[in-house]
Amino acid sequence: MTYALELKDLRKSFGKTEIIRGANLAVAQGERVAVIGPNGAGKSTLFNLISGRFEPTSGEVLLNGQRIDGKRPFEINRMGLSRSFQITNIFPKLSVFENLRCGVLWSLGYKYTFLKFLADLDDANERAEQLMERIHLHRKRDVLAVNLTYAEQRALEIGITIAGGANVILLDEPTAGMSKSETRRFIELIKEVTVGKTLLTVEHDMGVVFGLADKIAVVVYGEVIAFDTPEKVRANRKVQEAYLGSHVADAQVGAH
């Protein structure tokens, strides 16, 4: 079977330090995967390799069975993969609506055209409007993105990511900096928009992880040391040692 996303012995070095040391992972269509691991383990780097921000030193990345390693980010995006960033990365001088519309345009085939008015692109506008409502930013429709609060910017970040309707979505700490209630709402939203799609998300919040994921991948020191259902991962000794710490496995989860 072809996996939605497959990593084969992926490696990445910066200078002399090897950060990703032979990562292997195969995510099936429609699976929701949480990627966890200690700080600096290479989760974001893994996302960067997949999405084309960095070029792997060696190894393969396959999207729906096709090689994408070495391709530029926009090429990968056009093939149906979209990602968000851990450190907010939006268009600060554009309004919320414009931000979202930018995320929509290519996927609807508008490309580089300068022979059509944006105002006439009903499908794109409608999609942007809908999205805006879903991420609860419709009241800030014409506010410039810089003027949003941090949490609102995070929401917009995710909005842009899912705007294009990509099939494979990577979210890097989507709920960081959000309050509990917002986190809860966003998890719902993410679940909603990723129905039938493949999702990878990095999270440190175990509540989110266990609430969202079908499977969990644990990255430690540039390797995927475990990839399994939440229950099994939580029970995994190695994972507890490397990541969860003494009492977190139960205590923190319970707190939510």
């Binding site: 200690p38 700080n39 290479g42 780097t45 851990q86 700490e173 309050s179 209630s181 440190h204 990541y243």
Partner: protein
């Protein structure tokens, strides 16, 4: 040590803090809790002289309001901002160097202490800080401020984006700070850790303090928790 009285703060024309009053004593860990947007970060910035404000802030009996941030820093208040303001083009080590107020300043903390606290940083000490992982950056900001040898450290959401294990670690280190006589004003979102390590808790809502007390009393006060902390 730190006494904040009737503090009002403004961003341009918008009035964000409406008369904040509290104190932080010597060697005390005080948690400042509250929802998103309640004004906790603004309080921190106001103390550091980074926003326009009125009222009074006394530090060791000296008024600090109206002073420049660097002057306040020299008086012994350290600040760890919430958005991981590391200096991306400088190496980890250089970032730490900038934490020192003067070259080769010696204080309670040395580079080695920092590297011991977070071995990850030691490994990355000659890397540009901009490429650090989110969590590593968080550690770095904390250490950088410590290098300035403050008597009071204001930490804005230090555990954001840290792996659970490291969160525990940070908690332990804050305790250690306290042992070395440093007061801490901890701005937190995560109740669990804040309650576990703090001596006193403040709850902020709509730009003023709505609760002051021990963690235990806060735990007991379901109304405050419900109204001002959870949804």
């Amino acid at each position: 040590m730190l006494k904040v009285e009737n503090l009002h703060a403004f961003y341009g024309k918008s009035h964000v803090l409406h008369g904040v009053n509290f104190e932080v004593g010597e060697g005390e860990i005080v948690a400042l809790l509250g929802r998103n947007g309640s004004g906790r970060s603004t309080t921190a910035k106001a103390i550091m002289g980074m926003v326009e404000c009125t009222g009074a802030v006394d530090w060791k009996g000296q008024p600090t309001l109206g002073r420049k941030p660097y002057e306040i820093a020299h008086l012994g208040i350290g600040y760890v901002p919430e958005n991981r303001d590391i200096f991306p083009k400088l190496t980890v080590h250089q970032n730490l160097m900038l934490g020192q107020k003067r070259a080769n300043q010696t204080g309670r903390w040395s580079f080695d202490d920092m590297y011991e606290m977070f071995p990850r940083l030691k490994e990355r000490q000659h890397t540009e800080a901009g490429v650090l992982s989110g969590g590593e950056q968080q550690m770095l900001t904390l250490c950088r401020t410590l290098m300035g040898d403050p008597d009071l450290i204001i930490i804005d959401e230090p555990t954001e984006g840290l792996a659970p294990k490291i969160v525990e670690l940070v908690g332990q280190y804050l305790q250690k700070l306290k042992q070395r006589g440093v007061s801490v004003l901890l701005i937190e979102q995560k109740l669990t850790i804040a309650m576990a390590i703090s001596d006193r808790a403040l709850v902020m809502g709509h730009g003023s303090i709505v609760f002051q007390g021990t963690p235990d009393s806060l735990r007991a006060d379901a109304y405050i928790r419900k109204e001002w902390l959870e949804v």
